[in-house]
C-alpha cells in the first residue's frame, strides 16, 4: 500500500508549493491514486483544472495532504469519476470551464454551463463560441405508476435557485436528481489576473453565509504561498470570527429545520439568538457578517474593549437561553417524530464522499480540519468534535447543537487568551511563481483554497472548493425511500450552498 508521501516523492515535485507538496505525476501514478480512492484509503479533497492540466488534492488520514497533477495531452485525462463517483460533478465542471475531457466519464452532460454564458470553456486561453445547448436529459427511473415532479429553480419562497427532479411512486421518492449551476458568477475567471486584495474580496463573496471561512481559506493560502506569518493577534481574531460565524449559522439552521416542520417557535427563538450574534459581530468587527475583515497578512479590524465585552455578554446570553431551546427541541414529541429516522445517510457514503461538517459527522465520519490539521490557534485550544452514527435529520440537528456548545467554549477561550499587538503585516512581492493551499473548517465543512501567484504578484489561478460539492450528491441518496413531503426538512438539514457550489 503506497503512502501519499511516497507517491509524491517519487515524481516530479513542484517547487514553492506550501504547506503541502505537489507533484506532477505520470498517468501510472495517477491511476494508482485512483485505486487508493476507490479502496477508501484516501479521500478526495478537490479536483480542478487549469489549461492543459488537472490537479487533484488528496487526504491520507494518516499521512496528511498532497496534490498530484497530470498534464492533459490533447485536453484529455483518464476520468476518476468512472471509478470514484464523488469526482463526477467536479469533472463535469472542469469540462465546462476548461474543456478538459475526462476519458471514460460515464456522465458527459454539462454541469455548470447551461448554454447561457455566450462563450464556451471560459477559463481556457481562447474561449470558444457557445455550443448549442442540448436539452438536459435527466436520469430515468422505470416502473409502473411513477411520476415526475419538477421543483425549481424558482421556488415559492425566497431561497437560492436549484432544480430538483423527483421521480416518485405516490408519495415515496424513487429518485431525486439535482441540477445546479444557476448562480454561476465566474469567480474563478474574475480571480485570474486579479491583484491579491481584489481576489480576497472575491473569495469573501463566494458564499455569503461562509464569508469568514472563505476569506480565511484564501488568506491562509496566500500566506502559505508567500511565506508570510500573520501577527499572533490576527490569528486569534480570525478564529474568533470563524467561531462567531459558525454560531450564527448553526443557530439559524437549527431554527430553520424546525420551521420546516412548521414549529415556528424554535425558529423565532433561534432567530433572536442568531441576530444577537450578528449584532455582537457588528459591534466588535464593524460588519454583521464580518465580510472583508480577514485579509492576507492579518485582519482588517481589531475589536476594542466594547467589542470584546459585547461578545462576552453574547456568550453569557446564549449559554443562558440555548439550553432551554435544546430542551424544547428534545421534548416536543411531534417534532421528534419528524426528524428522527428521516433522511438517513449511510456512513459508508459519507466516508466515500469525504463529506465534511455536520453531514459527515452525523454519519460517523470523524473529521474536522480544526482538529485534524490543527492550524493555529486551534492547536492551542481544547474542544471536542461531536460525532454521531445515526445519519438522520435529528443527528444533524444534534451535531449542530453540540457544535454551538463547543463554539461558545472556544470563543471564551479565545477571548481569555487574545494576545496584544498589531493585526496586519505587509506581504512582500514574490520572487517567482508561488503556490499555496489551505483547508479551513467552515460551518458546513472543510473549504479548500488553492492558488498560484505569478511573478508580478497577481493571482494566476485560484480554485475554491465548497464543502457542498461532496454534500449535494449525498442529499440525493439520503432522500431515497423517504416521502416527497419530507424533502424540505432533509434539504434544510443538509443546508448545502448553491452559491459556493456554482461559484
Amino acid at each position: 500500500m503506497p503512502a501519499l508521501a511516497d507517491l509524491i516523492e517519487a515524481d516530479r515535485q513542484v517547487e514553492h508549493h506550501a504547506p503541502w507538496r505537489r507533484a506532477v505525476v505520470a498517468p501510472k501514478a495517477w491511476n494508482l491514486a485512483v485505486e487508493q480512492l476507490v479502496a477508501g484509503r484516501w479521500s478526495l479533497l478537490g479536483l480542478w483544472g487549469e489549461p492543459g492540466k488537472v490537479h487533484m488534492a488528496l487526504l491520507d488520514e494518516a499521512q496528511g495532504i498532497g496534490v498530484i497533477s497530470l498534464d492533459c495531452r490533447g485536453g484529455r485525462y483518464p476520468s476518476i469519476g468512472q471509478y470514484h463517483p464523488p469526482a463526477l460533478r467536479l469533472e463535469r465542471a472542469g469540462a465546462d470551464l476548461f474543456g478538459l475531457a475526462p476519458q471514460g466519464l460515464p456522465d458527459t452532460r454539462r454541469w455548470l454551463d447551461h448554454g447561457q454564458w455566450g462563450i464556451s470553456h471560459p477559463l481556457t486561453a481562447r474561449p470558444g463560441v457557445p455550443a448549442v445547448a442540448p436539452s438536459y436529459r435527466f436520469l430515468t427511473a422505470e416502473g409502473e405508476n411513477l411520476h415526475q415532479i419538477p421543483v425549481g429553480p424558482v421556488h415559492a419562497g425566497i431561497i437560492e435557485p436549484g432544480h430538483f427532479r423527483f421521480t416518485a411512486g405516490g408519495e415515496t421518492v424513487v429518485r431525486l436528481e439535482e441540477r445546479l449551476g444557476y448562480v454561476h458568477k465566474g469567480i474563478e475567471s474574475l480571480m485570474a489576473g486579479a491583484p491579491i486584495e481584489r481576489a480576497a474580496k472575491l473569495a469573501g463573496r463566494t458564499s455569503g453565509d461562509s464569508t469568514v471561512a472563505y476569506s480565511l481559506a484564501f488568506a491562509r493560502a496566500v500566506e502559505a504561498a508567500l511565506g508570510v506569518a500573520p501577527p499572533p493577534r490576527a490569528i486569534w481574531l480570525r478564529a474568533l470570527m470563524a467561531e462567531l460565524e459558525r454560531l450564527a449559522n448553526h443557530l439559524g439552521d437549527i431554527g430553520a429545520i424546525c420551521n420546516d416542520a412548521a414549529f415556528a417557535i424554535m425558529h423565532a427563538h433561534c432567530g433572536v439568538l442568531r441576530e444577537r450574534v450578528l449584532r455582537a459581530a457588528d459591534t466588535a468587527f464593524g460588519h454583521r457578517l464580518m465580510r472583508d475583515r480577514i485579509l492576507p497578512g492579518g485582519t482588517a479590524s481589531d475589536p476594542n474593549e466594547a467589542g470584546t465585552d459585547a461578545i462576552r455578554s453574547l456568550v453569557a446570553e446564549i449559554r443562558r437561553r440555548f439550553p432551554h431551546l435544546v430542551e424544547l427541541y428534545d421534548n416536543t414529541a411531534s417534532l421528534q417524530d419528524r426528524t428522527v429516522a428521516t433522511g438517513r445517510l449511510k456512513g459508508e457514503l459519507a466516508r466515500q464522499y469525504a463529506a465534511g461538517g455536520y453531514v459527515g459527522r452525523a454519519s460517523g465520519r470523524d473529521f474536522d480540519a480544526r482538529r485534524d490539521l490543527a492550524y493555529a490557534p486551534y492547536d492551542q485550544l481544547t474542544f471536542d468534535v461531536p460525532v454521531l452514527q445515526e445519519g438522520d435529520v435529528n443527528a444533524r440537528v444534534w451535531i449542530r447543537v453540540r457544535e454551538v456548545e463547543q463554539s461558545l467554549s472556544l470563543v471564551e477561550q479565545i477571548l481569555g487568551r487574545l494576545p496584544a499587538g498589531p493585526t496586519l503585516v505587509e506581504a512582500a512581492a514574490p520572487e517567482g511563481p508561488r503556490e499555496g493551499m489551505a483547508l479551513v473548517e467552515g460551518f458546513r465543512g472543510d473549504i479548500l483554497a488553492w492558488l498560484r501567484i505569478g511573478e508580478d504578484g497577481l493571482i494566476e489561478r485560484c480554485h475554491l472548493r465548497d464543502p457542498s460539492w461532496f454534500q449535494w450528491p449525498l442529499l440525493e441518496a439520503a432522500i431515497e425511500g423517504n416521502i416527497v413531503a419530507d424533502f424540505p426538512l432533509c434539504n434544510k438539514s443538509f443546508n448545502c450552498s448553491y452559491s459556493g457550489h456554482d461559484l
Binding site: H147, I149, A262
Partner: protein
C-alpha cells in the same frame, strides 16, 4: 313588520360572517405572531390582502379550462351559504329550516370536490399532489364528520342546527360521554378541514409539503381572493359550529328584541376570540405531522365519533 325584521336579522348574519371571517384569520395570525415574539401584521391585514388581490390582474394558464375559472366562485358561494346557515348569535332565523348539519357537510364537500378538480385542471405536478392529499384527508374527515352528526342527531333528535343548539342549551342535555367524544372529534376534523397545523401549514412556502396551498398555487387575482375568502369563511364556520353546538350560552332566538340580540352578538364574538386564541396556542405548540400520519390522526377522530355513537345506543338500550 316582523317578517322584515327577521329577514334583516338573517341578512345581518349573512353579511356579518362575510365581514368577520378575515378579521378572525387576522386575529389568529396576530396571536400566533405574538406567541413567537414577533410583532406580526395588523389584524386587518387580510382585508387589505383581499382588496389587493381583487385589484390585480388574473393570470391564467394557457390550458386552463372553464372549470378552472368557475371553481373559485363555486367554492366561495357554497362556503358562504354554509357559513351563513350556522347559527352565530341567534337561533331560529328565517332560513334556519335549511340550516341542517347534513346540508352543511354536503355544501363543504362539493366545494372541496371542485377545488380538487381545479387543482388538477392545469396539469401542474403540485396541483396533482395537493388534490390527491386533499382527497385522502377528506375521505377520512367526512365520515368522521357524518358520525359526529349522527351522535348529535341521536342526542338532540334533529339534524337541524337551531334545534340542536336549543336542545344543547337546555338543562335536559346533562353530562354525556358521547358529546365529549363528539367535541374532540369535531375539533380534530375542523383542524384537518381548515388545513391548520399539524395537518397542513397555512403559512408555508415549501411547495412539496403543501396540501391546500398546492391546489391553489396557480390561482391569482380575484380568483385567489375568492378562494382565500372561502377558506377564511370555512374557519369561521367551524368555530361557529363548535360554539353553537357545544357552547350554546348566549344564543338568543331570533324573535328576541334588538337588545338581547346585541348581547348574543357580544357572546358570539367572545367565543370566537377564545377559540381563536386556543387555535393559535395549539398551532404554536406542535409541529406539523408527516403526511402519512394524517390518516392516523383522522382515524382517531373517526373512532371517537363512532364510539360516541355506539355509546349512545348502548346507554339507550340499558
Amino acid at each position: 313588520m316582523a317578517v322584515i325584521f327577521e329577514l334583516a336579522v338573517q341578512g345581518a348574519q349573512m353579511f356579518s360572517v362575510l365581514l368577520l371571517a378575515p378579521l378572525l384569520i387576522g386575529f389568529v395570525r396576530k396571536v400566533k405572531a405574538r406567541l413567537v415574539r414577533r410583532q406580526g401584521p395588523s389584524v386587518i391585514q387580510p382585508y387589505r390582502d383581499l382588496a389587493r388581490l381583487m385589484r390585480k390582474e388574473v393570470v391564467l394558464a394557457d390550458n386552463a379550462s372553464w372549470l378552472f375559472r368557475v371553481t373559485p366562485y363555486l367554492i366561495f358561494a357554497a362556503t358562504w351559504v354554509a357559513a351563513a346557515l350556522v347559527p352565530t348569535f341567534a337561533t331560529g332565523l328565517e332560513f334556519s329550516w335549511a340550516a341542517d348539519l347534513i346540508v352543511i357537510v354536503a355544501l363543504l364537500g362539493s366545494a372541496r370536490f371542485f377545488q380538487a378538480l381545479a387543482g388538477m385542471d392545469v396539469g401542474t405536478s403540485f396541483g396533482g399532489i395537493g388534490a390527491s392529499r386533499e382527497v385522502m384527508i377528506a375521505s377520512l374527515a367526512e365520515p368522521a364528520m357524518l358520525l359526529i352528526v349522527f351522535s348529535l342527531a341521536l342526542v338532540a333528535g334533529a339534524t337541524q342546527l337551531s334545534t340542536v343548539a336549543a336542545f344543547m342549551g337546555s338543562p335536559e342535555v346533562g353530562l354525556r360521554v358521547s358529546l365529549g367524544m363528539s367535541l374532540i372529534a369535531l375539533v380534530m376534523v375542523a383542524i384537518a378541514e381548515n388545513a391548520r397545523i399539524p395537518v397542513d401549514n397555512p403559512a408555508t412556502h415549501l411547495e412539496l409539503t403543501m396540501v391546500h396551498e398546492a391546489m391553489i398555487l396557480e390561482y391569482s387575482g380575484r380568483h385567489l381572493a375568492m378562494i382565500e375568502l372561502a377558506s377564511f369563511l370555512k374557519l369561521l364556520l367551524y368555530m361557529s359550529l363548535i360554539s353553537c353546538v357545544f357552547l350554546p350560552w348566549g344564543l338568543e332566538s331570533a324573535g328576541a328584541g334588538p337588545k338581547s340580540l346585541a348581547v348574543g352578538a357580544a357572546a358570539y364574538l367572545g367565543k370566537l376570540a377564545v377559540l381563536a386564541i386556543l387555535l393559535a396556542v395549539f398551532e404554536t405548540a406542535v409541529a406539523k405531522m408527516r403526511v402519512f400520519r394524517v390518516p392516523d390522526f383522522l382515524g382517531a377522530a373517526l373512532m371517537l365519533a363512532l364510539l360516541g355513537t355506539l355509546l349512545l345506543f348502548v346507554s339507550r338500550s340499558l
